[in-house]
Symmetry: C2
Subunit: 207 residues, 2 copies
DNA sequence: AATAAATGTGGATATTACTCACATATTATT
DNA sequence: AATAATATGTGAGTAATATCCACATTTATT
């Protein structure tokens, strides 16, 4: 997309307002939190009228869903990198998976809140866009869990979906614990992860 | 309805407006979610002026903190009942603790969201009232964890605080998973809890 | 070129949290 | 008991917000 527009100073149409809105909104959410995002301030920042966004997103909820969906895509990409890294043993892959998840959540705290918060999931609005991207994301983790069971890292007696849910729950709980500062101080996050992994994983038999 | 208002003398002062506000606000949060609570509608419901609440709570945030604090007190009471029940073995106590926690979260979903959500914890406002009640609550769990370690339910090699953090994280993650309907269907909550407990606890040695 | 569709604009509305000046009830002090 | 201080109520008003509406301009389709 490089039409002859460079010489035009003020063009009526933006060019790619939708992407500009998502990008700028993501920034605002990251820097000021979810509640720091208002459509008016957003419009100001993108130099566009207050109501322009409504031609690209049904409402604020819809815009937030788009931001969260982007977050899921990012995490999915990271997970695939770990999964396909042949230099790692299965055991190391799980550990990396766990640690990178926490790291991702911490580095994108406000986006993470959006991805997994009640604001979008519990809303009555249409969050199918969110589910469409998050569900395969979780299914991917189920598949990895299945492999980990075969490698003896998790008990093969358990249902892989349940196992994936429990490991995700633990990761999610730790991430929230850290991000919101509940029951914890920031210095202990590594210890917490170590303890969690020790508990969840079947210990390698001493040989 | 339709009370004879002619002979009824409406008092200028309410009597115990603070408690009435907390109670009614709790109801509104439970039935319509956190975002369903507006101070105006609340004032209407309690039959009081829009601004009356500001004599009892600094702002909306302050009122929400009071609701959440009440939630912590309730859970603390439930935890103590389990802990002091002599008819339960230590192992059964942990299981009960885990299951009752999830049950509490599900039965009070909106309040639970308030208790552990970013809205109050991440805010810049004063949430010391919240921390004052939630911190002892967690310390209690640490003490119980210490005992469970002595009973061989958790590895004694781990730091009890870390263990309590990890078990709380798992419980919290499962509760959120269920409540928000992320990655899960409601029918599998019991299986998920079973799997979680199996993973976290040291298996009783076959005898 | 004509027309339709997409994408922009400013004006308007309803809801919201919150502030302010003031009214009335309760209590503490004399 | 009288009075002062304090607690607790009221209504008017403000600023911010999400969203709707009628209309303007640009782009795509025929």
């Amino acid at each position: 997309m490089a039409p002859t527009e460079t010489n035009k100073k003020t063009k009526y149409h933006h060019g790619d307002l939708r992407q500009a809105l998502i990008a700028s909104a993501t920034n605002m959410v990251e820097s000021e939190g979810v509640n720091g995002l208002s459509l008016r301030k957003l419009a100001e920042k993108v130099n566009v009228s207050r109501t322009a966004a409504y031609h690209h997103f049904k409402d604020k909820h819809d815009l937030l869903c788009a931001i969260a969906a982007q977050g899921f895509a990012q995490w999915q990409a990271m997970a695939e990198v770990i999964s396909k890294d042949d230099s790692l043993s299965s055991r190391e892959k799980f550990k990396q998976f766990f640690l990178k998840y926490i790291q991702f959540a911490i580095n994108n705290a406000a986006i993470y809140e959006l991805m997994f918060g009640h604001q979008l999931w519990q809303s009555e609005g249409d969050n199918s866009a969110l589910k469409d991207v998050s569900y395969p994301c979780f299914q991917y983790q189920v598949e990895m869990t299945r492999l980990w069971q075969q490698q003896g890292i998790f008990p093969s007696s358990e249902n892989p979906t349940r196992l994936a849910q429990v490991t995700w729950a633990t990761m999610h709980g730790l991430a929230k614990l850290y991000i919101d500062g509940i029951y914890t101080q920031s210095s202990t996050i590594e210890d917490m992860c170590d303890t969690a992994i020790n508990l969840l994983v079947i210990n390698k038999p001493a040989n």
